[in-house]
């Protein structure tokens, strides 16, 4: 087994998985995270119950954090970024922002994504009206135990609209991708709201519903059958206010007429942007980005987990919108690829 560590960048679900997987076969790991704690988006953004396990993020991801933090083979650097990454396979050198230098055998980028900032779609009222919030904020309302409420005056909403594809599937703002998770997350949130506030009506406005695979009946159907969540095929044009409630303008595309409906709370199902740091990361690690700005992957069929640079691997939402479960699976795969690469390097050295 190599004594040179493998560098894992990012301590979210993917990074934690890769670090754990490598350490569990005796491979030393250096785990770097720019935040002051591990856990990534589910912890930093205060997610509530995760899809599809239904476990609280602070429990599920918190457990993954602890598992890594307690492993002596994982050397964790918080509040740290990678300042430089140079050299050839077998002779990589990385300098961390805390001044430390290491010679990793390989690197895995688990650098995740950035939540879409709804302010970029001003016509949907976020930033103008306090009762227009994002799915992330509703997650926080639930996870912090404060309950779902209208931020303006704290009242419990009677009518909630969830707008899908905010920051996704929208050429107007250069975000043509589907963010993959928002349909299911929104169905989940809708059910949680209905459970917490049984008198509250929840409407989901959609272009298409993509609760793929096993999420169909568990989320899309269940939210209708068991929780009476209403789905309306319409992309909302604008959110305004008459001074009392929020006013939502849409077309009911099935009856083909424009509609104007009042709501207490409007929730933006925000998409997953490429990490804001991706241009910097790409330059530092010498890897290419795909056209949307995510980290470009090597061919899946022959080089799962690879990037455009040999010895640098990638997993999770760094490659594009991704679920937590799939990020974990990808990280296991990338760990295997990185380990094989590191051992290949040893073999090359021995020859």
């Amino acid at each position: 087994m190599s004594s040179a560590p493998i560098l894992v960048v990012g301590g979210g679900p993917a990074g934690l998985t890769a670090a754990h997987a490598l350490a569990s076969v005796g491979q030393p790991v250096v785990l770097v995270d720019k935040a002051d704690r591990l856990g990534g988006a589910p912890i930093l953004s205060g997610y509530a119950k995760l899809v599809p396990s239904g476990e609280w993020a602070r429990d599920a991801i918190g457990g993954m954090v602890r598992r890594v933090e307690q492993n002596p083979l994982v050397n964790v650097h918080r509040n740290t970024t990678v300042a430089a990454f140079e050299g050839e396979p077998g002779r990589f050198r990385a300098r961390l922002s805390n001044g430390q230098e290491i010679e990793p055998a390989a690197a895995i980028l688990c650098t995740g994504f950035t939540h879409f900032d709804s302010v970029n779609k001003p016509e949907w009222g976020f930033g103008t009206y306090p009762d227009v919030v994002t799915t992330t904020q509703v997650e926080q309302m639930l996870s912090s135990g404060r309950g779902v409420h209208c931020p303006s005056d704290g009242r419990e909403p009677e009518r909630v609209a969830i707008l899908l594809c905010v920051g996704s599937r929208d050429r107007q703002i250069g975000r043509e991708w589907c963010s993959k998770i928002c349909c299911t997350v929104s169905a989940n949130i809708a059910m949680e709201i209905r459970e917490a506030l049984p008198r509250c009506q929840v409407y989901i406005y959609y272009m298409d519903i993509r609760t793929f695979g096993l999420y169909e009946d568990k989320y899309y159907w269940a939210s209708q059958e068991e929780y009476r969540v209403k789905y309306i095929k319409a992309r909302i044009a604008e959110v305004t206010s008459d001074g009392k409630r929020l006013i939502v303008k849409g077309e009911d595309t099935l009856v083909k007429r424009p509609i104007t409906i009042p709501f207490d709370l409007v929730v933006h199902a925000i998409g997953m942007d490429p990490n804001v740091d991706n241009v910097l990361l790409a330059a530092t690690f010498g890897v290419k980005l795909e056209p949307h700005g995510h980290i470009a992957r090597a061919p899946t069929y022959s080089a799962m987990g690879g990037t455009s640079r040999p010895g640098v691997f990638v997993a999770g939402a760094a490659t594009g919108p991704e679920t937590i479960d799939d990020s974990i699976a990808q990280a296991q795969a990338a760990a295997m690829a990185a380990l094989a690469f590191a051992q290949g390097g040893l073999a090359r050295a021995a020859e």
Partner: protein, 454 residues
Amino acid sequence: MTEKQGAYTGFGPEWQESKLSPQEAQRATSWVEARIDRRSMLTGKDRVEDVRDALRELEKDGEIVVHRITEQHEPVTARTLYGWTKKIPTNQLWHHKSCGQCGNIPGYPTSLLWLMNKLGTRYLDETDQTSCTAWNYHGSGIGNVVSLAAVFLRNFHQAYVSAKAQGLPEGYYYPLVHCGTSFGNYKEMRHFLVHSPQLREQVRKILGKLGRLIDGKLLIPEEIVHYSEWLHVMRERVREHQVIDVSHIRATVHPACHVYKMVPEDVIYDETVLDGNRVAVSTGLLQTLGAQVIDYSTWYDCCGFGFRHIIGEREFSRSFSIDRKIKVAVEEARADVMIGHDTGCITTLDKSQWIGKAVDKIYELPIMADCQFAALVCGAHPYKLAQLHWHASPFEAFLEKIGIDWQKAKAEFDAYLEEVKAGRIETLYDPKRAITSGPGFTRPAQIGTSTAGS
């Protein structure tokens, strides 16, 4: 949804609960709340094309000439929807007038020129220009992309060479577009010209025939600038001339579709105006002048002008403007005035109110342009300068509310009309400057270049 709260399913035996304290959970919450309240992610040019970059590329390739905003135009930089920058020239401006404004709301351009005199801005208002012809096109379907593009480049070429009539160099004046539809249409044409070599070729042939090429190439302006953008970046300087307090005035803004919805990435959004969440022009000016700007639920709605409808199907125009704009501004926002920044909207919102009486929809909401409002609060005469007598909506009560004695002003104007009849006419600039070629043209040596009129 899980059988046991906090239990783990399928991740291995070493798992345990994190047991975050309420403080830790709160900390997790506050992180995003603090961060997401700002426009932290700008829409990068790798995601959305900036046509101005494409323009510069075409110039590099020797395809076109770009009319640039230079130091002489004293540009001020503004931020647009995605955080990009746009140069707004503030001096040496060529007035690209609006046919609807000049024909129908003459106090609109008059107020703008008056403000420019007040601020010492050099400008040229000349007779060598046409309408953009987009009102006609959108209304009737007569015209096409080639004719619209040719008209665009003809007028902007004239702006470029106009100063030669005064013995000044080419490019001295930069075009300032008065009409919102012209502004939107010209930006669309710029987009089509940049993306279609065939269109460029067709238009090049026509402009060649008119003698309106520069070195055999099309001349395209670096920025297409609306007068409301000039007014926006000048708003602090306008305030220096304010003589009337409007802090008690509840103003509603009607933003114009062709100003901020056409080519939306080119529109000014200012962090200091409604947190950058709504188009900044007009609202920023009103706030700077101290008026209360009141939001209302149909803010995004159009006015009902319809281009064709205002001429041949006004049932639609007036129903829409009364029900979706005027009524809401009066009943919901309790507005004293509605301020616009485009020709068709002001016409529709202003002229549609009178007929409401026939169907018991009685509203009296003054409608005027942002520059008329600004001129009034800077002491412009409501009739002689702001020319409010052309407005159909009642403005007298509003004038009283801001302390202007309209009866006295009207009497003064009546007296002035007698002077006009006797040929004693006051103008904002030397009328000789308006003619730059053809019959009536006076050579440069004979006219001064100052902005002040007789």
